[in-house]
Structure formats: C-alpha cells, structure tokens
C-alpha cells in the first residue's frame, strides 16, 4: 500500500488542466509497467534439481519445455550429491524447488506442472486416464528394467536371458494397451484431443528404446508413430534439438 500511495497519480487527474491530464496518463503507464514487473517477480521460481543426465529428470524438463514455462535446470554433480541429499525431503532426486520449497517424486512433479499449464487433460476424468496410463507405464518399467538396466551395464546378470524373461514379456503386456488406447482415442494422442504429460512420458521412453535397441518396437508401429508425432510438436522439438544431455 505504501507503493501505491507514493506513486499514485490520481490527484493529478482531479486538480487538472490538460498538461496535468497528460502527466496523469504518463504516471498511469509507469504504474502499469511497475506492476507487470512486480507480477513477474511473484510468478513462481522453478528449479529442477537432478544429475546432469536425462534419466528421471528428462520428463519434467520436457513438460516445462512443452508448457513454455521457464525453469532453472540444476545439474547436481556426484561430488555435491551427498550434501544436497540431506536437504531433499526423500533423499532422492529429481526434486522441484518452487519458491524455495521442495516437491519430490518425478510423477508428482510432472503432474504439478502439467495440471497448471493445460497438459493434464481437459476434464477430471481425462486427467484420471492420463494418471492411469502413466502408472501402467510405471508398472511396465518396474518389470522391464530387470532387462534394461543390465543392458545399460548396471548390475550383474545375463542380458540375453533377462531380455527373454523380463524385457519381451513386459513389452508385450504394456504396448498392446498403448495401441488399444491410441486406436480408441483416435486423436493421435493418448487421452483427449490434445497432448498431455503421459504422451511426453511414453514418447520419451519409446525414443530411448528405439535409440538403444533398434527395432525393439517393430511390432508396434502405432507406438512409434505416436512418438514421432509428439516429438514433432514445435516446443518439444526445439527442446530435443537444444537439450543439454
């Protein structure tokens, strides 16, 4: 209120001649510009903390990019992690820092940003179907990673045996559901008639699979087509071309 009192031009409007009226409008414009700056400063400040890799940080980053919302991408080094870990709520990353307060868990972060920027479906029921597909992907990933992590060189075990025992069954349980949903929905996106954060989630996973195990989704052309469609969205395409990792 001090701010408004000190800068109020309204007395000028009443005690006026033409010159004063012009002064009023100049003052009024100055207030509008100051107010815009103030609003910019009270928009939330987002910092996404993760390692300097794609991993679990990539989908939140892509949602920011798609929503065209500014965020600071903080890459935590392996050396700095043990200290920073103590500050995080769950001892894990990614964490989203919103005006100094943390939100952990990648899906909670994704949904928090997506639902505030029109990327979580147009109705509550659509939002619920976005959640359901995302959780079904998570179930897939929990089985699939028993093969995938070995393939990427983490842990001990027979990669080929893991592919047969875990990789292929997990794939053949999950991706038919994706195809069924794409056909049923009919828009080219998974839920409703516009892109949602689960399109981003699935397309990211598909691109990663195709990059590291070419032809793995040969029996699911609709899924590959979906990935290409999602990654052709201009804001996301730009991110993919300029992302740091």
């Amino acid at each position: 209120s001090t701010f408004l009192f000190k800068t109020s031009p309204f007395p000028l409007l009443f005690f006026s001649n033409f010159h004063s009226k012009v002064s009023f409008f100049v003052e009024f414009l100055t207030i509008c510009i100051k107010l815009r700056g103030y609003c910019r400063r009270i928009m939330p400040e987002y910092k996404l903390h993760y390692f300097g890799i794609r991993g679990l940080g990539e989908v939140p980053r892509q949602i920011f990019a798609l929503a065209e919302v500014k965020f600071e991408n903080v890459a935590v080094t392996r050396e700095d992690w043990p200290e920073f870990k103590k500050k995080t709520p769950f001892g894990q990353m990614p964490v989203l820092e919103v005006d100094g307060k943390f939100i952990p868990q990648s899906f909670a972060i994704a949904r928090f940003i997506a639902s505030q920027h029109g990327l979580a479906g147009k109705t509550p029921f659509e939002a619920a179907w976005v959640d359901a597909l995302a959780d079904q992907w998570k179930d897939f990933q929990n089985d699939f990673k028993k093969f995938w992590y070995l393939k990427l060189g983490f842990g001990e075990g027979d990669v080929d045996a893991a592919k047969v025992e875990h990789g292929i069954p997990a794939r053949d349980k999950f991706f038919p559901l994706v195809v069924k949903q794409l056909k049923k929905n009919g828009s080219g996106f998974l839920v409703g008639d516009a892109v949602t954060w689960v399109d981003v989630l699935v397309a990211n996973a598909v691109a990663d699979l195709e990059e590291k195990e070419a032809g793995f989704l040969a029996e699911y052309p609709e899924v590959v087509a979906h990935q290409k469609k999602v990654h052709a969205i201009p804001a996301l395409k730009k991110w993919l071309e300029t992302r740091p990792y």
Binding site: G91, A108, R111
Partner: protein, 209 residues
C-alpha cells in the same frame, strides 16, 4: 445435477481398493462395492481396460489403476489438500509408498502365505531397510507437519488413508514392526478416529490385507 453412478470392482480385500471405498463412504456417496471371488476372476479379466483390478466405473465409463482412481475421487470430494502444492505432496507420499511396496512385495507375499520364502532373510535384507527408509521419511513429515494427525496440510487427504490402511496390515502381519515410528502410529490413530472413517472400518468385512 444428479450424482454419477459409481461402481468399484476388486477382490474381497483391502489392498488396492480400500482407499477408494473409504473416499466414497466419507463423501456420503452411494456406490456399488463389487468384490470378485478368485474363481470368477479369469472370466472377468479381459473385460477390464488393463486386465487388472481395481476398476472404477463412473456412469459406466471404466477407470483403471488404483492411484488414478484414488486421486480422481479425492479431487471430486475434497481430499487432495488445499493447494496444488499440497496435492503434489499427497502424490509424492503415495508414489514413495508405491516404491516401498515394490521393495517389500516378496516379504508380504511370504507373510500372507502366497509364496514360499525365508521370512527372516527377507526381513533382514529387504523389510527392515525399506521400513526404516520409508517410515523414517513419514515420521519426519508427520512431525514437520505439526503432529496434527495428517501427513499433508491440515485436513484429511487420500495419502492419510493410504498410509493408515497399510499400517493396519503391518500391525496384523508384523506386530510391533513400526514401534520405532511413534508419530506415524499416532497420526494413524488420529486418522482412524475420524468419525465417518471409524464407522466404515467398524462395519467393513475383516481382511488381513
């Protein structure tokens, strides 16, 4: 406008459907509470969107996946906290609980007699570390939230219901297992004393899990 018709389909147990049942009951909303007997399940499986239960039907339209169902009902009836930030924290606690569940799955299947396994080995290798990590987090969260009987904010959320229902199971299968987390246990007691919830718990069929 008229209330939609709700139908929830699951096995005759608490596990992945109890929170949804509680949300509907707390909201005072009538719903069809379908409990499928194990022998009848194979015939129904292909009718479910993802071949699994629970499934919520809203005016006949199906919705699978327990957390999607919980969050949908919680949003409809006001159990997701008071802001997007609080709602995100409810989601985060639920997902951390899911991670803990995945880690301890084999242990609980052995405790329920559903698979063979070495209970003591699983407790030592998996159960205790997972418990200490997850319930350590919850203990801290409950204290930082003011030990007010909620894990997030000042009012009942579906994260409260989720944790309380799991603690009930742990108290049945592993008595004393959570004695090192007194604020969590006190929070659960407060949650369970919510009048309508107390009513539901008392009239529900008993289930070990």
């Amino acid at each position: 406008s008229t209330m939609p018709a709700y139908k929830l389909t699951y096995f005759n147990g608490r596990l992945r459907a109890e929170v949804a049942r509680q949300l509907l009951y707390l909201a005072g909303v009538p719903f069809e509470d379908v409990r499928v007997r194990r022998p009848d399940w194979p015939a129904l499986k292909s009718k479910m969107p993802f071949g699994e239960m629970p499934v919520l039907e809203v005016d006949g339209k199906p919705l699978p996946q327990s957390f999607a169902i919980n969050r949908y009902l919680a949003k409809e009836f006001g159990f997701t906290g008071k802001s997007p930030f609080e709602a995100a924290w409810v989601d985060a606690i639920a997902d951390q609980f899911k991670d803990y569940n995945i880690e301890t799955r084999r242990l609980f299947l052995v405790l329920l007699g559903m698979i063979q396994g070495d209970k003591e080995q699983l407790l030592k290798d998996v159960g205790i570390p997972a418990r200490d990590k997850f319930f350590g987090i919850l203990e801290k969260i409950a204290k930082e939230n003011g030990s007010n009987g909620h894990f997030v904010g000042q009012s009942l959320t579906w994260a409260d219901l989720l944790i309380a229902d799991h603690v009930k199971t742990v108290n049945i299968l592993l008595p004393g297992f959570l004695d090192g987390f007194p604020t969590v246990l006190d929070t659960v007691k407060k949650i369970e004393s919510t009048p309508k919830l107390k009513e539901w718990i008392e009239k529900s069929p008993y289930s070990k899990f």
